[in-house]
Amino acid sequence: MGTSKNAIRFILDGKLIEIENIDPTRTLLQYLREDIRRVGSKEGCAEGDCGACTVVVGEAVDQRIRFRAVNACIQFLPTMDGKMLFTVESLISSRQQLHPVQQSMVDYHGSQCGFCTPGFIMSMFALYKTDADPDRKAIDDALSGNLCRCTGYRSIIEATQHMGEYPVSADADPIIYRPAGENVEDVSAQEQEMLERLDQLQRKQGLQLKYGDAQYFAPASIDELAGIYQQNPDACILAGGTDVGLWVTKQLRDLPKVIYLGNTAGLNQINETDAGIEIGAAVSLTDAFDYLATEYPELAEMFRRFSSVPVRNAATLVGNIANGSPIGDSMPALIPIGARIKLRQGSKSREIPLEDLYIDYQKNAMQSGEFIESVIVPKRDESMKFRCYKICKRFDQDISAVCAAFALRLDGDVVASIDIAYGGMAAIPKRAAQAEAVLSGNSWNEDTVRQAMNALSKDFSPLTDMRASAAYRRLAAANLLYRFYLETRTQDALTSEAVNVFAVQA
């Protein structure tokens, strides 16, 4: 396939799109709305928090096309290279018939003002492609990134529950529509054709784009990436773009050099080794969490509540770690279980404990030109009792006021080891060393736990901000340690139904 060098290619509605000379930080939403006037996708917030811009991206994964919802408002256009894109306009068949998710939304009165609706439709469509008969939890998870201010959601939930009942139209493209009665496990001829077309778009060589003085690199290998970053240590490393996107849409920053990790072979992998589960820098939160939740089911609730599906589909676990935000949730979750990170600088590699990455507010142990290649999470130690708690104002997609994780090993009723990390309590994700010291070697009982709760005040001097006051953070942090004790005490341990409101059913 002949192609211009300074161009990206992707498939939109089955058609090959090739765009030359693009601003690397032009967002997908700007492209859709302003350049090609597909105005169905809306801008509600330009920061990935409202979902009005949701589109679906198709990629070849294990010989199938995998459909995932992402926020177009913070996705840079060049990252579409080699992918398939679906917008709300894609769903109407050639006979102007509504797609089942659209018809169900009409019939169950799921739209009022309609502004959020295209985004909901696309999140529903992504869900439909994997689970056309979802339960309430699957619906909540799939739609947690879409805000609606009108309906109160009940009608949208009902529409999603019923979307699988609609017949698909005869002339529908089977890439988009689930063929009636066809075994979804089978790859249709059309899907096979699309897979082949996608395969032709994949690059063996790295991609470099120039736009005025701006440069965009999408290296094809880790060595190439390491070389480019060593030569351009001032470049911005881009993975999912769920934070970097806001630098552009909100802070209006110019990013003259961008290095995108999404096409780098080897980074998009999860490998199990003796050391543990190694998650590459381009692995999405969705994939990383799916894997880790099997190993650590205690993390499942935090993972559900960590941002939203469209953000988790784009964002990466290593990106969250590298970002090092004091209120990021993955670090407090991973530090107590002994996660390590693999750093790469040019041809040099090194490995350090995750907690050693963070030095001070937005200051880390990485050197110029060094980047995180992967994070290594130890395999489950069956003797460990582990919990992770997240507290914020809203269940879905909220940043923690306090996030805490506790990993405990008991020898009888004596604390053999305890590892505690908190987010939201300091300028960095941080261990509670004083509290750990109080508990280590002592018996795991209410008295020592109360002492440890007091010791937390020596570990942390949290801030007051819009999420919570310092006093609340202190009290909640201590109480979460107490909650952990109640769930893990050697006698009369409480179940999560007795300590977690979200585990309670009506």
Partner: protein, 775 residues
């Protein structure tokens, strides 16, 4: 001339749950919002320079770097406004661009017009502004302490509250604090202005009040009203936030378009929208209540202070409505209300669904909750004891006789259908068995007055056209913001003409079609505009009936219009055929229509009269569980029963009820507005300001419409449903309070503030544990 029996039957026809008229357009992405309109050649874009101080004199502005920024076409300050620099809806204290004095953090100071949205936004940050700080008031209590008002206090007295309090067997004094609320319409504020010939302006504006936008734009440009046309097809949500507050953006876009003689679009970035625009008023209350040993209220004395922000905007009528809803569903014999419009150096607060009504009513609910706990009674018993009577105890503090009271039977029905008492026992049992988690249950009622408190706003106009193919086109003064107004209006017109609603199209609100319209607000959209459209359609129907009678040799009073056919004297033809014949016989096939709500009167000085045509009622039961360690809560179940009269469209009305419930729950739980010490709003994006998401919608969520017909002659005997159900989630707040109280064996009134964030809940838990009923 129509047979009165058939007309009457039509006027109480059962509603039809058809989908929203734009539903198919919404789901396909085809529905056009202002930003989706294809841009005219040469369109420029605006971004606003906002104040970085809460209260200061602007001593110097250097625009040099702004002007030399790529793509910049023009920079505009207050001095560049040709007409009057004001867009205040009632009091003229709302500058469009600050002129030397800034009064809140986020106030627009200047506008940059550029060749792209991004270019304008990038240039804005390059201005160098020097300020001389002035003392700022951020908190409503501090404003009250300093007697800092935007308007004089409002007073309402009935009886002698002070004496009645002194004679009451029991008294409680206390304070209540309720936060404001960001509208978070998904479509932000946007205006798109295009200059037309002869100095005219065409403005597309996402607004609930096209006529007012026409007025302010004419005012600011010094034009006649007939030179400004405002067009509005649909908003991506309004909720009150686009009633008066769309004005500033309409004006800036229009001034820029006028000065540059090119089309200009002003679309606010979400953060700028949240920082610059007003919100629901937060309130602070100090009250004293006197009651007897049964819990019957003898007297209430209350001071309520509304956080107005820096200017009056709509605070006056908001406060009036708060005063008129302090009673909610309860008779209060002796009452004294002092209501303050407190001036703070924050965004100028404005209309928001309920318009002060919720803030008035929540105070009495809080008070009753306290009375019940004080007496060791279930709060439902005390609520019922204090309900308005039907034959006595039925005059509101503002002097309106209540003639449509159904709260007793409505609450009885809900009490049964929700198994209130069985669940009360279950909650008590749960709480006796659990230490960390506690459950709470509450039933709260709603009575909400419908009409604008300003009598002359209660009027509407409409145009109905019938084309020769038998299709109808309706235009009226109301605006569509998702509430289904256009759907209901189309249904009414279709019913009147006996045609399929698919053949009725409602078009964009347009000040050049129906003039001098009122805001689509106060829940009155369908009440007013559907009546006007019905009037227009009825005139055409009558003309067609005369024509058909002649044609069929029948009697005009017996002509039937049913299912798209017109029949008389055993003969019939399709509506389209008849229309075509009528056209050839030179029958006028279009009509205007007009409606004004009857029997309203109001004395704004004494706060006495009949401000409301009728009341809408409702009630809700909510059950929650709270975590006494973290303060988190979850709504487990909600049962809603709401009075929509004879609903025109039950599906749409249920959507209004459910949507209002969740939105109101957000106001009272997760939605917290936080200003820092400098007066900067720190919750200025969805990342920090948390409206409810899908998981917040309870699994067990049961909504029903109460079988009723409005006692007044409203459109199809329906009742307004926009605002009243926003009060239903009081039940969530008081269920949380109930759960907290269980920590202190239900003996201490938890000092729970709204919004009940985890922190607010934990603060109240801590207070109750320590035996305090104050924070």
């Amino acid at each position: 001339m129509e047979n009165p029996a058939t007309m009457q039957a039509r006027e109480v026809a059962p509603g039809q749950s058809i989908p929203h008229e734009s539903a198919a357009l919404h789901v396909s992405g085809e529905a056009t919002y202002i930003d989706d309109i294809p841009e005219l050649a040469g369109t420029c874009f605006v971004a606003l320079g906002l104040s970085q101080r809460a209260h200061a004199r602007v001593t110097h502005i250097d625009y040099q770097a702004v002007k030399s920024s790529p793509g910049v076409v023009m920079v505009m300050g207050a001095e560049d406004i040709p007409g009057v620099n004001d867009c205040g809806p009632i009091i003229h204290d709302d500058p469009i661009l600050a002129d030397g004095l800034v009064e809140y953090y986020g106030q627009p100071i200047f506008a940059v017009v550029a060749t792209s949205f991004i270019a304008a936004r990038k240039a804005v940050g390059k201005a160098v502004i020097e300020y001389e700080d002035l003392p700022a008031i951020i908190d409503v209590r501090e404003a009250k302490r300093q007697k800092s008002w935007v308007l004089p206090p409002a007073r309402l007295r009935r009886g002698d509250a002070q004496t009645a309090l002194e004679k009451s067997p029991r008294r409680i004094k206390g304070e209540i604090s309720v936060g404001g609320q960001e509208h978070f319409y998904l479509e932000g504020q946007i205006s798109y202005a295009a200059p037309k010939e002869d100095g005219c302006i065409h403005l597309w504006c996402s607004t609930q009040h096209p006529t007012e936008m026409q007025h302010v734009v004419a005012h600011v440009l010094g034009l006649d009203l007939n030179q400004v046309v405002v067009e509005m097809r649909r908003m991506g949500g309004g909720f009150g936030g686009k009633e008066s507050q769309s004005a500033i953006f309409a004006c800036i876009a229009s001034v820029a378009a006028y000065r540059l003689n090119c089309p200009v679009k002003l679309r606010l970035d979400r953060d700028d929208d949240m920082v610059a625009t007003g919100k629901r008023h937060g309130f602070h209350y100090e009250y004293e209540v006197g009651f007897d040993d049964d819990g019957l209220i003898r007297a209430v004395s209350i001071e309520m202070a509304a956080q107005a922000g820096f200017s009056a905007d709509l605070t006056g009528p908001v406060v009036t409505r708060a005063v008129c809803h302090l009673d909610n569903a309860y008779y209060i014999n002796d009452v004294s209300i002092d209501a303050f419009s407190a001036k703070t150096n924050t965004q100028s607060n404005t209309a928001f669904r309920g318009f002060g009504g919720p803030q008035g009513a929540i105070a009495i609910e809080y008070i009753i909750d306290n009375i019940a706990r004080n007496l060791g009674k279930d709060s439902l018993e005390v609520r019922k004891l204090n309900f308005y009577g039907k034959d006595d105890r039925n005059v509101t503090p503002y002097g309106q006789l209540i003639t449509d009271n159904i709260i007793h039977e409505l609450v009885d029905q809900l009490e049964t259908s929700s198994d209130y008492w069985i669940r009360r026992e279950a909650v008590e049992k749960y709480n006796s068995e659990n230490t960390i988690l506690r459950k709470g249950l509450a039933l709260t009622p709603v009575k909400f007055g419908i009409s604008f408190n300003v009598v002359h706003f209660n009027q509407a106009g409409a145009l109905v056209h019938i084309y020769t193919d038998g299709t109808a086109l309706v235009n009226h003064g109301g605006t569509e913001m998702g509430q289904g107004l256009h759907t209901k209006v189309a249904q009414v017109v279709a019913l009147e003409l006996g045609i399929d609603v698919q053949n009725v199209r409602t078009t964009a609100t347009d000040t050049s079609k129906v003039p001098n319209t009122s805001a689509t607000a106060a829940s009155t959209g369908a009440d007013l505009n559907a009546k006007a459209a019905q009037d227009a359609a009825r005139q055409i129907r009558n003309r067609l009936a005369l024509f058909a009678a002649k044609h069929f040799n029948g009697d005009a009073s017996e002509v039937a219009f049913i299912d798209g056919r017109v029949s008389s004297n055993d003969k019939s033809m399709s509506f389209a055929e008849l229309v075509n014949l009528a056209y050839q016989s030179r029958v006028q096939l279009w009509s205007d229509g007009f409606y004004k709500t009857p029997d309203l009167h109001w004395d704004a000085k004494t706060l006495q009269g009949r401000p409301f045509y009728y009341f809408a009622y409702g009630a809700a039961v909510s059950e929650v569980v709270i975590d006494t360690l973290s303060g988190e809560f979850k709504l487990l179940r909600a049962d809603l029963l709401h009075d929509a009269g004879n609903s025109i469209n039950p599906a749409i009305d249920i959507g209004q009820v459910e949507g209002a419930f969740i939105q109101g729950m957000g106001w009272l739980t997760s939605e917290e507005l936080v200003w820092d010490a400098d007066g900067r709003l720190t919750t200025h994006a969805p990342s920090t300001y948390k409206i409810p998401t899908i998981t917040d919608c309870p699994d067990a969520f049961y909504t029903e419409l109460y079988q009723n017909q409005c006692v007044e002659d409203t459109i199809l005997r329906s009742k307004a449903t926009g605002e009243p159900p926003l009060l239903l989630p009081f039940s969530v707040f008081f269920a949380i309070r109930d759960a907290i109280a269980s920590v202190g064996q239900n003996k201490i009134n938890p000092p729970l503030r709204a919004p009940a964030t985890p922190e607010a809940i934990l603060d109240a838990v801590t207070a109750v544990r320590e035996g305090r009923d104050t924070l």
